[in-house]
Symmetry: C2
């Protein structure tokens, strides 16, 4: 892994996830907080118009617009599709990006605590997870490496190294101090890690650590007309990253019946009952727990 | 207090507070759940257009449009102002209402648990609070009786007896089962109370109970340009209905400084960091604790 020369810290990719937006305001006044000696850091406010309207997005989810084919398709021209092209021009272009690493700051309404989502599991990222967890024991590391980085549709996939800082629980359009503090701390550790990597000064890291790997997404129950017919079971609510076994109740239908999970592995739900996922009637993501060895 | 002959159960006054909206759907299929022998119950979906757009409101907050002067002002004609007039026609008119009691169902992002907000403290309401608390020990009773009912701007002030069922914490645009269950249970106890009142069958109630009385609303800190300059202190977050004393930190400024509360009474914050209050840069409501004696 070569030296990281250019880093972008991105906030407000979703206009109603306030922590990153308010941290950008703070860092604009105190740029030294996110500066390090061995690389250049820039800040990007990704979706200012959605924030002005206090919404996740104006026309479509900005953080789903970064497939290479979509960036190349000039007919995709609504507000977020246009912002995606502008940001790709500023930080990319994807595939040959001038930015080596993007840190994209997000909030979730789910009880995920301070989570670091890594889009690939190479040595650099595995060590980043180890470093962040060693500095911040409450941190959770999730690998969404089910496809190569360049096949992801996330903003942070513009750069060859992209990470998502995902902190919750925080309702949309709210600033919680605990969540803001976690986001600032995790971002600081990531920047420190890059600096230590660049200067060959990494401390001894633990030989292994616990992490999660995305497996699948579950939908909310629907009736025969496609109407929402149930909700996340109260036993699951807020239990992000707690184990789920076959036969455990997972949904409660509005008529009172319970639906049990029938999977054949020990699953770890996360993004449980995330508000933004209702648009697509999604209930949660599932993952497997794994031991990352360095 | 005379017999209650007509009750309206209202949901969706705010389009992104989902519990009441989903309970209305359930009760439309099972009207017997909210029917009692001694009075007629009707259901009202107050702001369907805001719900379609997954927003609190289209043009302005519907639950602030029920002052008598505003209902009479035909120049107030945006969507919610028009809905207010239509609902006043359906359930009122305020001052001479055909509906004896309105139960308006709300969610908050604040950690208020199952709260019953009463707009007056007459014998009927004081006993309602006692009955609900005796059936549901986790319930909190708040009197917002700082003005007479007819001077309130809330929807439920159309009727001479109006109550607000306010349940949280629930992010906007989410259905939590625990919150839905609390709302259904509290509504059931209120309807049972009315039935018992009407039939002179009230059980022995406790001689006294703890409740809260609204005193004032605090704003989020602003700088000299009127920009938001801070957030609710992490010590206060989620501590709705816990005591606050002079000198306790209440806000954290974005530059890290703490702001302490300087009031001269033991205050009980609620609606702490409610998402919807950011529109007006409000941080929380304060109340006093009081003992209600029957």
């Amino acid at each position: 892994m070569n030296k990281i020369n250019t880093v972008a810290v991105v906030g407000g990719t979703h206009g109603n996830e306030f922590s990153g937006i308010y941290l950008l305001r703070k860092w604009k006044k105190n740029a030294q907080l996110i500066s390090r000696s061995s690389f250049a850091t820039q800040m990007v406010f990704a979706n200012p118009k959605a924030h002005e309207e206090n919404k996740r997005y104006i026309d479509c989810d900005l953080n789903r617009q970064f497939l290479l084919a979509d960036l190349d398709d000039q007919d995709l021209a609504n507000y977020e599709q246009s912002r995606a092209k502008a940001i790709n021009n500023q930080l990319g272009p994807k595939g040959n990006a001038k930015t080596d690493l993007i840190i994209d700051l997000h909030n979730t309404t789910s009880n995920m605590g301070p989570s670091l989502i890594l889009l690939q599991s190479d040595d650099f990222n595995r060590k980043m997870g180890a470093y962040v967890k060693s500095c911040m024991p409450s941190a959770v590391v999730v690998f969404e490496d089910q496809v190569p980085v360049e096949e992801h549709f996330f903003l942070s996939s513009i750069s060859p190294n992209g990470v998502i800082v995902e902190i919750g629980p925080q309702p949309q359009s709210v600033i919680r101090q605990d969540v803001l503090d976690w986001m600032e701390e995790m971002t600081r550790h990531i920047l420190d890690y890059i600096e230590l990597h660049n200067t060959n000064a990494l401390p001894q890291l633990p030989a292994s650590y616990e992490a999660f790997k995305y497996t699948e997404t579950l939908k909310l129950p629907e009736d025969e007309n496609g109407e929402r017919a149930g909700m996340v079971h109260k036993n699951i609510q807020d239990n992000d990253f707690k184990p789920l076994h076959s036969g455990d109740p997972i949904f409660t239908l509005f008529d009172g019946k319970e639906v049990c999970w029938e999977g054949d592995y020990e699953a770890y739900p996360h993004f449980i009952n995330e508000a933004a996922y209702y648009d697509n009637n999604l209930a949660m993501s599932l993952g497997r727990k794994l031991l990352i060895e360095l």
